[in-house]
């Protein structure tokens, strides 16, 4: 990046605009969203080229450009966590087995009702578990099953994939191989 041309910042380069948008976005930015940055129409291929360039620029630094379910975002490299944890020692705790099992059932069997989850786990699902997952924006109610009582149907969100650094549900661990054994 040539600094001279940028000192006055009269008209920022497209790459600078895309990079700044990605650095400041509160959620991953899709290609379609990134296109909105420009008044003139920008080709998808050109945008991808810019993203590649930005990715290269950040090679070997503390943060990295990553593609997740909803689009592109900057995130820290895992190696940096040991340093960052020194600033905020309170790490979010790992979730209990009950929470993770419930999440796994919703992820692999979605959409499911509370009854479905209870059937698989063989134990009642505490409301607190579903509330925890909803509070993280990892699951949501996507409808209700057309049976007496019309129970809510739960499914996982794009936010879950974002938080787990995945682009699709297909990338969930072991889904393919495990399902085949069924």
């Amino acid at each position: 990046m040539s600094n001279e041309a940028h000192l006055l910042m009269s008209v920022p380069e497209p790459k600078t605009i895309v990079e700044t948008a990605l650095l400041t976005a509160s959620e991953p930015l899709s290609l379609n969203t990134l296109k909105l940055l420009f008044e003139f129409p920008i080709a998808q291929s050109q945008l991808c080229l810019l993203l590649d360039e930005i990715k290269c620029d950040w090679q070997g630094r503390g943060i990295t450009l990553t593609q997740v379910a909803q689009g592109w975002r900057f995130q820290t490299r895992p190696e940096m966590q040991v340093y960052l944890d020194r600033l905020s020692p309170q790490k979010p705790p790992r979730y209990s087995r009950a929470v993770m099992e419930t999440l796994a059932i919703i992820a692999y069997h979605q959409p499911v009702t509370r009854g479905d989850i209870e059937e698989i786990r063989g134990v009642a699902v505490a409301s607190a578990i579903l509330k925890t997952l909803e509070a993280r924006d990892w699951i949501e109610i996507v409808g209700s099953r057309d049976v007496p009582g019309r129970p809510d149907l739960f499914a996982t969100t794009a936010q879950l994939l974002n938080d787990l650094n995945l682009t699709s549900l297909k990338e969930l661990p072991g889904l393919q191989s495990e399902m085949e054994t069924l």
Binding site: L23, T24, A25, S26, I63, R73, F74, Q75, T76, R77, P78, M80, Q81, L84, K91, P92, R94, Y95, R97, A98, M100, E101, L103, A104, I105, A107, Y108, E119, I120, R121, G122, V123, A124, N162, D163, L164, N165, L166, L172, P173, G174, L175, E178, T181, L182
Partner: protein, 271 residues
């Protein structure tokens, strides 16, 4: 966890993978005081059952049902003092196990038809398998890098304070505000708002701007002959209106002499 449990040998006759064993595996017996331990360790009766099966590499049908059920029932007595909801599920599992066992003991009627009675073990096996699958994937899920725990998402502050957008003004907004006022004024008849020629008001402001304090301006100079008759009339009315409101003084020293206009003597101009 289970190794902390007090072992109590129970002599039974069972077979493990076809080989008869004299002693029941010791840690199958879970004393009541290990109850809380069990509740913390297992996420449900399926989990406990799965543990027992995997631990001893048992076929689910070789578990001594009577002994297991006796243990279950003794826990449930205690569970009722703690978590009733859990007790019901552990009890249900014990009932399921007994049912399976009893159905297996019953002589099966020989049937030739296709819709042969399903193996009573099948449903439990299916559930156990499915549960085990979910249990494993939950573990894998929990090992995935998680935003906020294993890496951070970047969000640099957007400095909006620097370029805070100012409210936009639309002609329609202005009109609506005025109409709203007029409508209100109609209701509150204490003040009569009347429609005036805008240009008069505009011209009044214009004339005031032209006049310097303490300085007489020729009446003629306030008129621009190029503006046309209508505008000149407006200017004339504006001057009269200003005079009426004591904003200007109009002076004529000699009959048929020049007319001069100045701001009122008390007129205070801002610095």
């Amino acid at each position: 966890m289970m190794s902390e449990v007090i072992f109590q040998p129970v002599i039974v006759c069972a077979s493990l993978n076809g080989e008869p064993i004299q002693l029941m595996p010791q840690d199958l017996y879970i004393p009541p005081d290990a109850l809380e331990l069990v509740l913390d360790t297992f996420s449900g009766p399926l989990d406990l059952l799965l543990y027992l099966i995997r631990k001893h590499n048992l076929d689910v049908l070789d578990i001594p049902m009577a002994e297991l059920t006796r243990q279950y029932l003794s826990y449930i007595e205690l569970l009722q003092q703690h978590k009733l909801a859990l007790a019901a599920e552990y009890l249900l599992m014990a009932a399921v196990l007994i049912e399976i066992k009893s159905r297996l003991l019953l002589p099966r009627p020989v049937r030739i038809t296709e819709d042969q009675e399903e193996d009573p073990r099948a449903e439990l096996m299916r559930r156990l398998h499915e549960y085990e699958l979910m249990k494993r994937t939950a573990q894998k899920l929990n090992e995935l890098p998680l935003a906020g725990r294993d890496f951070e998402v970047i969000q640099v502050l957007i400095d909006r304070a620097v370029a805070e957008p100012l409210p936009q003004l639309g002609l329609l907004d202005l009109k609506q505000a005025w109409i709203g006022l007029l409508a209100r004024a109609r209701i509150n008849t204490s003040h009569v708002v009347y429609q005036e020629q805008l240009s008069v008001r505009e011209q009044m402001a214009h004339i005031l701007r032209c006049l310097r304090i303490g300085e007489f301006v020729s009446f003629d100079l306030l008129f621009d002959l190029n503006e046309g008759r209508a505008k000149m009339i407006v200017t004339f009315i504006a001057i009269l209106e200003l005079a009426k409101e004591y904003l200007i003084e109009i002076q004529q020293d000699v009959e048929f002499g020049g007319v001069y206009v100045k701001r009122s003597s008390s007129f205070d101009e801002r610095p």
